[in-house]
Amino acid sequence: MTGRRPSSPVSRRTVLRGAAAGAAVLGFPLPLRAQAPVIKIGAVHPVTGPLAEPGQACRLGATMAVEAVNAAGGIKAMGGAKLELIVGDTQTKPDVGRTEAERVINQGAQILMGSFDSGSTAAMVPVAQQRRVPFLVDIAAADPITANVAKAVKEGQQKVQYVYRNFPTGSSFGARAVRYFTEIFAESGVAPKRVVLMYCNDLFGQNAAKGFQAGYAAAKPAWEIVDVIPWPEPPQDLSTEVSRAKAARPDIIAPITRPASAQLLLPELRKQRVEVMGIVGPGSPGLYEAGQLAVLKDDLEYVMSAVPWANFKNPRTQKVAEDYFKRSGGKTFDTNSGYSYDGIFVIADALERAKSADADTVADAIKKTHYTAGLMQYAGPVIFNELGDNPNAVTTMIQILGQKPVAVWPKEAAVQKLVFPRPKR
């Protein structure tokens, strides 16, 4: 049954941690445990609130990665030091995000990871810079999050950049999606002309839509965006929006959705008999998750979306995905869980090279990262540019075939052949 989450009983550990937190709040330092060194990573995600679903996925991905690193012997360059995860919940609120970042640092976190939504992530950036704690953004798309820090360092207002991001930036989503559109049409030997862009008017949707339109303006492809139809998220009714789309006589519908709006949009497209060559999304949630497939079934078949995706040609990915499926109660190992998983490994790799947990050394090590063992689909090794972003973090075009999301483009990432145009019903 979808919607079940892993259980986490209140354990002695939780109580101990609670007591430690209580003492720590008052500012009394606790004696460190006299065991093998432990490196604490604060993983802060929106596990409650409107983004609870991806937030919990991130937390589980990070948890599994920490277990994997420890099982393989921990950080060997630091005497087998184990990683320990201190988790936080931003509730998707920036003020809570900031407080949680401070709290996990207070409990000993030497590195931060998080936090999915750009508002909370932006609120955590000053904490990282103020407290000098390296902060790896595993997921968050707003370009300014890292760009602002790079600018401050360049202008001398801040000494060191502590914030890095291993995720495609909002602007890169769009340009790549436009490229994929053109390539897919060429590969299939058809020439659709009219594309209707439909998107959810929230932070993610608006940003992705703008990126797509900017990429389109720059690339000047043979196809044309003939109408742009945003809707308020979450929507209660999309019948008029779909009528408008239909009136534009589209060859392709390009939707940017969230799970709730996808559940409204796709059946509506079918009901109003909007005949198109295909539904190709520039990249959004809602079009591939197990929960969505369970609800939408056939309406999702042949739908494509350009999302950050795991590299399933890597056998390690398969194994982790199976584990994740079991532990999450039947969910797909996707963008959220995947990038959090890789994030921990990138941090571990940096620690191996830094050989210490000193903030500046670790930040420097992160900057010099050249990591090739990531589970996500990258266009090269994980590296960080002058803004602190990973230019090789890219999206992959996936398609729902046989009620399963599979990578279909670019060719080197494809596990199955893409089906386009979609067969007539």
């Binding site: 500012g27 750009s118 801040q158």
Partner: protein
């Protein structure tokens, strides 16, 4: 009267000395206690004393925050000045809402809805205006430069927030003793009687709203320069309006110490319940606790914590309001 004064002084001195012994995390918790107490105190003027409930005060936070941030980002105007420009714009919006509401005789729930409508419109406009970043919002570069109303040390924010809260409370306490405060309280108790007696209720309610919205707008700048990003849903949204209203109501609406007490009760409670109860399968349990607490307070301490404490203390304070009898 001097005993409370000495007590107040001791408390203020203690608060001023705390950052020396607290962890940065605890300092952050206090910063939010002070900040939300400040916003609640601003709300208290119109919602508590004048009795005109507003559930849309986030609109003023949003307007003030976006104004100061935009002025800084496009004109390089320091937020120390920008905050007053933001406050002035927020006051203008407050005047508009108050004028429309009171001139057209909206009271009680109808006025509440008017404020909500304006806040929602503000949110939708900000969401759809590319010039202010649309849904993505504005992102402020962290430089730690005090001239840009930013500080490298968290403790500096603590003192700023503390001063804001104390200043607002002192202002409200002073107004409470003057004729302005008495008029507001009278209007809250029975507006019709006031009008019958020839009091210009419209003027006083308008003034209360303008002052309230100005202060709230100034607070918006603090929000922007402590959290470094502004999104329409967060900064104009109903959840923020609720956070603003809750503290004075729980602490004692219409009393000078109510919002402060309310903030000292609710913020740590929210913090504790999130830290201890938000694990895995129980995500959301802490908000259930929050909700139950609200219900308990409303049922058993309807005047708010402060007047209840006073009653328990046995002293009769003239700032303790009687609930008006409503039919």
């Amino acid at each position: 009267m001097t005993v409370p004064r000495v007590a107040a002084l001791v408390v203020v001195l203690a608060l001023a000395a705390l950052p020396a012994v607290l962890s940065s995390y605890a300092v952050t918790v206090f910063i939010f206690i002070f900040f939300y107490a400040y916003l609640g105190q601003a709300w208290n003027l119109v919602g508590g004393y004048a009795g005109q409930l507003s559930a849309g005060h986030a609109a003023f936070v949003g307007l003030g925050a976006y104004t100061a941030a935009m002025l800084s980002m496009t004109l390089g105007l320091t937020p120390w000045v920008g905050m007053f420009v933001g406050g002035a714009l927020a006051a203008a919006l407050g005047a508009l809402i108050a004028y429309l509401g009171f001139r057209f005789g909206l009271r009680g729930f109808y006025f509440v809805l008017l404020t909500v409508a304006f806040a929602e419109i503000g949110r939708i406009v900000a969401l759809n205006t590319d010039a202010v970043g649309g849904a993505l919002g504005l992102y402020i570069t962290f430089t730690g430069n005090p001239r840009q109303f930013q500080f490298q040390d968290n403790r500096a924010y603590y003192y700023v927030a503390l001063v804001m809260m104390l200043a607002a409370t002192a202002l409200v306490a002073a107004l409470e003793r003057r004729r302005f405060g008495e008029y507001l309280k009278a209007i809250r108790e029975d507006e019709n009687a006031c009008e019958a007696l020839g009091v210009d209720t419209f003027r006083y309610k308008l003034l209360a709203m303008v002052l309230s919205s100005f202060l709230t707008g100034v607070g918006g700048t603090f929000y922007a320069y402590y959290l470094f990003s502004l999104q329409p849903n967060a900064v104009f949204g109903i959840p923020l309006s609720v956070e603003i209203m809750i503290r004075p109501i729980v602490g004692g609406a219409g009393t000078a110490l109510g919002p402060v007490l309310g903030s000292f009760i609710l913020s740590p409670l929210g913090e504790l319940s999130r830290v201890y109860l938000s694990q895995g399968a129980w995500s959301g349990l802490h908000l259930i606790v929050y909700g139950v607490l609200l219900i308990v307070v409303v049922l058993f301490f309807p005047q708010g914590a402060y007047p209840t404490l006073l009653k328990l203390g046995g002293s009769m304070s003239r700032s303790s309001p009687k609930p008006p009898h409503r039919i």
